[in-house]
C-alpha cells in the first residue's frame, strides 16, 4: 500500500507539473512604418510578451514577473521621450504620443492604506529605476506623485449608479509622476533591450542596433507597459508591452528625384534608413511582422477592391465564399504613379498582403461592410521570416514613396486637392494645444493654455451632433452631445501656485462664464513641499468654437537654498498638460481585412496587438510641450559661501568682544552696584582670552593662515625644525 501511495503521489506530482507546463511564455513582435511627411518616416516597434507561468520562464523576463507578483498592481506604464511630436507638419499621430521626459503611471489595487501605497510606490520606482537606468529615485518622495485625474473615457462610460467626477477612480488607485527633464539615451535602451528574448541580436529589435540613428531621430519614445491579467481559464498572467517610436528624418529627397527621373531605380530601404539589418529571426517569436502604411488613401484601394470583387463576379454570398473571384492587380489600378513605383522592383520578393481598415456598423458586427475608416491608412503586411528567407540575411524591404506634397493627413482623401487650391486652414492638425507663461515677474505670472480645433474636426463634430456616436455625457449636458467635451489635465508643482479664482475661459476670444460649461472638475491644491497640485477640468465646447483659451494666474514660491537644483537658472519645469477630446472619425470599431480575392465581407480578418492598438477608440489625447517657469534664484557662487562663513565668524567675534567691553552688570541700580563693576584687569584678561581663542580657531581651520604664520615665525627667527621622532 505504501508503494501504491507513492505511485499515486508521484503521478499526482507529474500531473501537476504537466498542468504547470501548460503555462507558457508568448512573444510577438511587430513593426509599423509610415511616412508622416515627405522627409519624415515614422517607425514604431511593438514587442508583446505574456506569460502565465509563475516561474521557470523560457523567454519572459523574470525580473518583470517578480515585480508584477510581489507588488499589488494592476498596470504600470512608463514612457521616456525626447523630442516632441510636431502636429503641424506630421499630422495626427498613428500611435500614442507621449510627452517629453519620463512619465510613470501606475494603477495599484484598491484597498491599500496610504502608507502601504507609498511603500508600494517606492518599491516600484526603485525597481523601475534599476530596469530603465532613469533617475527615478527623484520620484521617491511623494512631492512628485499625483493621483490620476478624470479620465474622459470613464466619464463617458455609461454608468447606471451615481457617477461623481470628484470621486477616486474606480477599481484601483492611480498614481502618476512626471520628470519633464529626464534625458533619453543609450543607457535607457540597454536595459530595456535586455527584457526582450533576443535583445537586439535577432528579430526586429536588431533594427535598433545603430544607436546614432535611433537617438538622432527627431522624436524618440521608449515605452514599457506591464499589466496583470486573468486569463479566461482563471490563470493569472502577466503582460509586458514594449514600444519604441521613432520619427526619422531621411535624406530621401535626392533619391526621390532620382526615382522620378528613372522610375525603375530602387527606392528607400527600411534597413538603410535605420542603418541596421535584421540578420536572424528571433526563434521565440510567435508573430513577427512588418506593416508598411500605404501613402494613398484607403478609400481608393477599397473602391477598387469592391468593384473587382463585388462588381464583377461576387453577386451572391456563395460565390464570394468560394473565393473564386480574382482581385488582380488592385494596387496598380487604384493608384496613379506613386504606388506602382514600389510595385515594380521585384514583385516576387513581396510576400505581402494588403490590409484595409473596414468599419463595422454598430448594429451588425462582421457583416454588411459599408466603408473603410478614413482615420487609418491601408497597411501592407509582411512576414519577417518570409522576408528573411528571400533576402540574404536582410529584410530587403522597399518602402513606398511618400506623397511629394507636404501633407499632414496623407491618408485622407481630398486634403491634397484642397491644399493645392490654396486652402491653408486645413494644413493644421485636428487639435493643437499651446501653453505659455505671461509676465516677467519673479513673484507672479500667468499661464495660458490655448486649444485650437481645425475646421475639419469641427465639421465632423457638427455632423456627429445628432446622428453620430453619442456618449453618455450628452444626457447630463442637457441635450448636448458628449462629443463636444474637452478635458484638460494640468499638474502644478508646489512652487507654482495657481489662483483658481482667476481662471478665465475664452471661447474664440470671448470670455464665457465657467460654470455652465463645466461638466466635471477635480482640483486638488498642492501641499507645500509634499505634493503637487492637480487641476482637471472637463468643458463642454460647442462644435462651432475654434479656439479655447484658459488663463490662470499663479504666484511663485521661494525655495530654501537646498531645494534648488544645480541648474536653477535654467528655470523650473512644469509638466506637460494633457488635452483629451473626442474625434468622431475614430468612433466606429474597425476590423482589418485582407484584400484577398473574394468578397469584402467574407475577407479574412486579421488581428494583432499593434493593429488593435491603432484603432483604439475615439478618445484622443494631445500633450503640450514642456514649460519652464523662472523662479527667483540666489547667487550660488563659491565666494558667497566663503563670505557668509567668514563674516559670520567675524560678527561673532566682534559681537562678543563688544559685549564684553561695554556691558555692565545687569540691573545696575537694583542690588550691589559695587559688585557689578568688573575690574579693568579682568576685562583685559577676558579680551585677551577672546583674542587667543579666535586666533587659535582661525589657525586651526585655515591651512594657508598656518602657512603664513609659519613663514612669519621663520622670518622672526623662531626655530621651526622640530620633527616627529
Amino acid at each position: 500500500s505504501l508503494m501504491l501511495q507513492y505511485i499515486v503521489w508521484t503521478a499526482g506530482l507529474m500531473l501537476a507539473i504537466a498542468v504547470g507546463c501548460n503555462a507558457q511564455d508568448v512573444f510577438s513582435e511587430e513593426l509599423l512604418t509610415a511616412w508622416v511627411s515627405p522627409q519624415h518616416l515614422l517607425v514604431h516597434f511593438r514587442f508583446d510578451q505574456g506569460t502565465t507561468a509563475s516561474r521557470l520562464h523560457t523567454s519572459f523576463p523574470h525580473a518583470i514577473q517578480q515585480l508584477a507578483s510581489t507588488l499589488r498592481l494592476h498596470a504600470v506604464e512608463l514612457s521616456l521621450t525626447s523630442g516632441r511630436w510636431r502636429y503641424t507638419t506630421w499630422g495626427r499621430p498613428l500611435v500614442a504620443v507621449t510627452p517629453v521626459g519620463a512619465v510613470l503611471d501606475a494603477s495599484l489595487r484598491a484597498g491599500l492604506k496610504p502608507q502601504a501605497l507609498i511603500a508600494h510606490w517606492a518599491a516600484l520606482v526603485n525597481a523601475l529605476s534599476g530596469l530603465s537606468c532613469a533617475s527615478f529615485s527623484l520620484l521617491h518622495d511623494p512631492t512628485s506623485i499625483s493621483g490620476g485625474g478624470i479620465s474622459l473615457r470613464q466619464l463617458l462610460a455609461p454608468t447606471t449608479g451615481n457617477r461623481s467626477a470628484e470621486g477616486p477612480v474606480a477599481g484601483g488607485q492611480r498614481l502618476r509622476a512626471m520628470l519633464p527633464h529626464e534625458p533619453l539615451c543609450t543607457e535607457n535602451l540597454t536595459p530595456w533591450l535586455r527584457l526582450l528574448p533576443c535583445r537586439d541580436q535577432a528579430g526586429l529589435a536588431s533594427l535598433l542596433r545603430h544607436r546614432p540613428t535611433v537617438f538622432g531621430a527627431e522624436y524618440v519614445s521608449l515605452g514599457l507597459m506591464l499589466e496583470r491579467h486573468a486569463t479566461p481559464k482563471g490563470r493569472r498572467g502577466v503582460r509586458l508591452v514594449q514600444t519604441v517610436t521613432l520619427v526619422i528624418r531621411t535624406a530621401l529627397k535626392r533619391a526621390q528625384q532620382q526615382q522620378q527621373a528613372h522610375p525603375s531605380a530602387p527606392g528607400a530601404d527600411l534597413e538603410t534608413v535605420l542603418g541596421a539589418r535584421v540578420e536572424h529571426f528571433c526563434p521565440p517569436a510567435m508573430r513577427s511582422e512588418v506593416l508598411v502604411a500605404e501613402p494613398d488613401s484607403p478609400e481608393g484601394l477599397f473602391a477598387t477592391w469592391r468593384t473587382r470583387s463585388g462588381g464583377v463576379c461576387c453577386e451572391s454570398e456563395d460565390e464570394s465564399q468560394n473565393g473564386s473571384c480574382p482581385l488582380g492587380d488592385y494596387a496598380a489600378a487604384a493608384t496613379t504613379g506613386t504606388l506602382d513605383a514600389h510595385n515594380t522592383p521585384g514583385p516576387v520578393r513581396e510576400p505581402s498582403r494588403l490590409l484595409l481598415p473596414v468599419m463595422i456598423p454598430a448594429g451588425s458586427p462582421g457583416f454588411a461592410v459599408e466603408a473603410v475608416s478614413q482615420a487609418l491608412p491601408a497597411l501592407r503586411r509582411y512576414d519577417t521570416l518570409e522576408l528573411l528567407e528571400v533576402g540574404d540575411r536582410a529584410l530587403g524591404l522597399q518602402l513606398p514613396y511618400p506623397h511629394p506634397q507636404p501633407s499632414t493627413q496623407p491618408h485622407i482623401a481630398g486634403v491634397h486637392e484642397m491644399r493645392a487650391n490654396g486652402d491653408d486652414r486645413l494644413a493644421g492638425p485636428d487639435l493643437q494645444a499651446d501653453r505659455y507663461v505671461t509676465g516677467a515677474n519673479l513673484l507672479h505670472g500667468a499661464v495660458v493654455l490655448r486649444i485650437q480645433r481645425s475646421r475639419e474636426l469641427r465639421a465632423r463634430l457638427e455632423a456627429s451632433q445628432c446622428t453620430g456616436w453619442r456618449g453618455s455625457g450628452g444626457a447630463e449636458g442637457g441635450g448636448t452631445c458628449g462629443s463636444s467635451l474637452v478635458c484638460i489635465n494640468q499638474l502644478f508643482p508646489w512652487y507654482v501656485r495657481p489662483w483658481m479664482h482667476t481662471l478665465t475661459v475664452l471661447y474664440d476670444g470671448q470670455e464665457v462664464p465657467l460654470r455652465p460649461h463645466l461638466v466635471a472638475q477635480q482640483v486638488r491644491p498642492a501641499v507645500q513641499r509634499s505634493s503637487p497640485g492637480v487641476v482637471d477640468l472637463c468643458l463642454r465646447v460647442p462644435p462651432a468654437v475654434a479656439e479655447v483659451q484658459l488663463r490662470v494666474a499663479f504666484s511663485k514660491a521661494f525655495l530654501t537654498v537646498f531645494e534648488y537644483p544645480p541648474d536653477a537658472h535654467r528655470g523650473f519645469d512644469v509638466p506637460a498638460a494633457v488635452v483629451s477630446y473626442l474625434d468622431p472619425l475614430y468612433a466606429p470599431a474597425v476590423q482589418w481585412r485582407v484584400t484577398s480575392p473574394g468578397d469584402v465581407s467574407g475577407a479574412e480578418v486579421v488581428s494583432s496587438p499593434l493593429l488593435s492598438g491603432l484603432s483604439a477608440g475615439p478618445v484622443k489625447q494631445v500633450y503640450t510641450v514642456g514649460l519652464l517657469v523662472p523662479l527667483a534664484a540666489p547667487d550660488f557662487s563659491m565666494p558667497y559661501n566663503v563670505i557668509c562663513l567668514s563674516s559670520t565668524v567675524l560678527a561673532v567675534y566682534f559681537g562678543a568682544l563688544l559685549n564684553l567691553l561695554t556691558r555692565r552688570g545687569c540691573a545696575a541700580g537694583h542690588a550691589a552696584p559695587e559688585r557689578s563693576k568688573v575690574s579693568l584687569g579682568g576685562k583685559a584678561l577676558q579680551a585677551l582670552l577672546m583674542l587667543v581663542l579666535f586666533s587659535a580657531l582661525a589657525l586651526y581651520l585655515d591651512a594657508e593662515l598656518r602657512q603664513h604664520a609659519m613663514e612669519l615665525l621663520a622670518k622672526l627667527g623662531f626655530p621651526l625644525e622640530f620633527k616627529l621622532k
Binding site: 533617475s135 543609450t186 536595459p191 544645480p566 552688570g665 542690588a671 559688585r675 568688573v678 580657531l697
Partner: protein, 430 residues
C-alpha cells in the same frame, strides 16, 4: 564586589569566560591586519566611475569617465560590477551633432560611449551623499542591487573621479563639494567593513593630489593627475563640437590601455612611464598606503580587468578552511568554540580595531616622503597646537565666567526676575 563575595566560584567562572571572550576577540583583531588582507584571494573586480560635472561645457569630464568605463568594460568587468555616475546627458544632448556617441579625439574613430551603457546614477542623483553611500554601502533598503557596490574583502575596487576641484575638494554637480577628509573617512570605513581587498583611486581634477592627501586607509593606491597649485588641462579641441574633448591625463591613460588586453602583464610602473610633464602640463603623483608595495608589483589588470576565479563563501565551514590552510583559521576556530559571541560581530562592531589603526599611522609617516613633507608636518603640528590653544582658552574663559557667576549670584537672580521669569517675586510685582 557583592557579586564576588556572594558566590565566589560562579563569579570566577564568569571572569574566566570574559577573559576567554576577550582573548578570542584579540585573535580576530590580529588576523585583520593589512598584511593578512593582502593574502586573501582576489575574487572579484568592482569599479566606481564618477564624473561630477554638469553642463555641456564640461563635455570632457563625462568623456574622461566614459573612457575609463570603456577600458574596464573592454577588459571584462561586467555592467553589474560597475557603478557609473554621470551627472548630465552629453551623448544625446541637443547640442551634440553626433548623437549617442562620445569621442576622445577629433578623428572620431573611438566612440567611448559605445553600444551598451548602463548608467546607475545620473542627473541630479549624482550627489556627494550618494557617492559616499556607494562607497560605504550605507544605502536605503529600497535601493536596487544595480546601484550598490557589493564588494567584499576579496574584491579589487577601482574608483575614478573626474571634475572640477581645488585645494582638498572636488565639486559635485556644481552645487556641493566632496572634501578630502570625507573621502578619507569613507575609505577608512570601507577598510573597516572589509569592502575591498585593494583599492585603486584615480582622481583627475585640478589640484587632485590635495583631495587624496588625507587618505590613510590600508591597501589603497591613489593616483592624482596634478599637484597643489597645478591645473589638470584639457586636450583635443574639436571644431565640430566646438570645445575640448578630454583631459590630458585621461587621454594618456586611455591611450595606454588601448594597447593592452586582459592577458597583459603591464604594471602601474609601465603606465607611469608614459606620463610626462611635457604632454600633461602637470605633475602626476601616486601614493601607496601599503609600504611594501611598489608600482612595478601592481598589475593593471588586477584593477581594470576582471577575474573569473570565483568562489562562494556562503557554505565555507571550518573543515574547508583547514584543508585550504586559511590564514584566518584562528577566527573561525574562535567562532566555533565561542558560540555566544560570533566572531564577526565581535571583531568588527564590539571592538574597534586599534592596533590596525596605529600600524597605519606609522606607515603613513614613513612611506615615500615628498619634498615638502617636513613643512606638512610642521603645519600639522601648528594645527594641533592651535586647536589645543583654542580649547584651553575656551576652558579658561568658561572657568572665569563660572567664577564670576558664583561671585554675583544676587546679580544673576536679578537678571532672571527682570526678564519676568519669576513672577512670584512679590517685590517686583508690587
Amino acid at each position: 564586589m557583592s557579586l564576588s563575595s556572594g558566590r565566589g566560584p560562579a563569579s570566577l567562572f564568569i571572569v574566566y569566560i570574559c577573559l576567554m571572550w576577550i582573548g578570542s576577540g584579540r585573535v580576530g583583531i590580529t588576523a585583520l591586519t593589512s598584511t593578512e588582507r593582502l593574502t586573501s584571494r582576489h575574487e572579484s573586480n568592482w569599479a566606481v566611475l564618477v564624473s561630477t560635472s554638469r553642463f555641456w561645457l564640461n563635455y570632457r569630464h563625462i568623456v574622461n569617465t566614459m573612457s575609463i568605463y570603456h577600458v574596464v568594460k573592454r577588459l571584462g568587468i561586467p555592467d553589474s560590477n560597475i557603478i557609473l555616475m554621470i551627472p548630465d546627458d552629453m551623448a544625446c544632448n541637443a547640442r551634440n551633432p553626433l548623437p549617442a556617441q562620445l569621442f576622445n579625439n577629433e578623428s572620431h574613430w573611438l566612440d567611448v560611449y559605445g553600444q551598451d551603457v548602463e548608467v546607475d546614477y545620473r542627473g541630479y542623483e549624482v550627489t556627494v551623499s550618494n557617492f559616499l553611500q556607494v562607497l560605504t554601502g550605507r544605502h536605503d533598503s529600497n535601493v536596487p542591487r544595480s546601484k550598490r557596490l557589493m564588494s567584499d574583502a576579496s574584491s579589487n575596487v577601482l574608483v575614478y573621479l573626474s571634475g572640477h576641484g581645488g585645494d582638498e575638494f572636488i565639486k559635485f554637480n556644481d552645487v556641493e563639494e566632496l572634501l578630502a577628509q570625507d573621502l578619507a573617512d569613507a575609505l577608512a570605513q570601507m577598510a573597516e567593513k572589509g569592502r575591498y581587498r585593494e583599492l585603486l583611486m584615480i582622481v583627475e581634477t585640478c589640484e587632485a593630489a590635495t583631495l587624496l592627501q588625507r587618505v590613510s586607509a590600508p591597501d589603497v593606491i591613489t593616483i592624482a593627475s596634478s599637484q597643489k597649485d597645478e591645473q589638470s588641462l584639457s586636450f583635443k579641441s574639436d571644431p565640430e563640437l566646438g570645445m575640448s574633448l578630454i583631459d590630458r591625463f585621461t587621454y594618456q591613460t586611455l591611450a595606454f590601455f588601448e594597447s593592452i588586453d586582459i592577458k597583459s602583464a603591464a604594471t602601474l610602473a609601465d603606465l607611469f612611464g608614459t606620463y610626462s610633464y611635457e604632454f600633461m602640463q602637470s605633475h602626476f603623483s601616486y601614493r601607496m598606503t601599503n609600504a611594501a608595495l611598489r608600482p612595478k608589483d601592481v598589475k593593471l589588470t588586477d584593477f581594470f580587468g576582471s577575474v573569473a576565479d570565483i568562489r562562494t563563501t556562503s557554505d565555507r565551514g571550518p573543515q574547508d578552511i583547514m584543508y585550504h590552510g586559511d590564514a584566518q583559521m584562528g577566527r573561525y576556530m574562535a567562532a566555533y568554540i565561542d558560540e555566544d559571541a560570533p566572531w564577526d560581530i565581535d571583531s568588527t562592531l564590539m571592538q574597534p580595531d586599534m592596533s590596525n589603526e596605529s600600524i597605519m599611522m606609522w606607515k603613513i609617516f614613513y612611506t615615500a616622503p615628498s619634498p615638502s613633507d617636513s613643512g606638512i608636518l610642521n603645519r600639522e603640528a601648528i594645527r594641533a597646537w592651535s586647536g589645543f590653544m583654542a580649547l584651553c582658552s575656551l576652558a579658561l574663559y568658561m572657568l572665569i565666567a563660572h567664577i564670576r557667576m558664583k561671585g554675583y549670584r544676587v546679580n544673576f537672580f536679578c537678571a532672571q526676575t527682570s526678564w519676568g521669569l519669576a513672577p512670584e517675586d512679590s517685590s517686583l510685582v508690587s
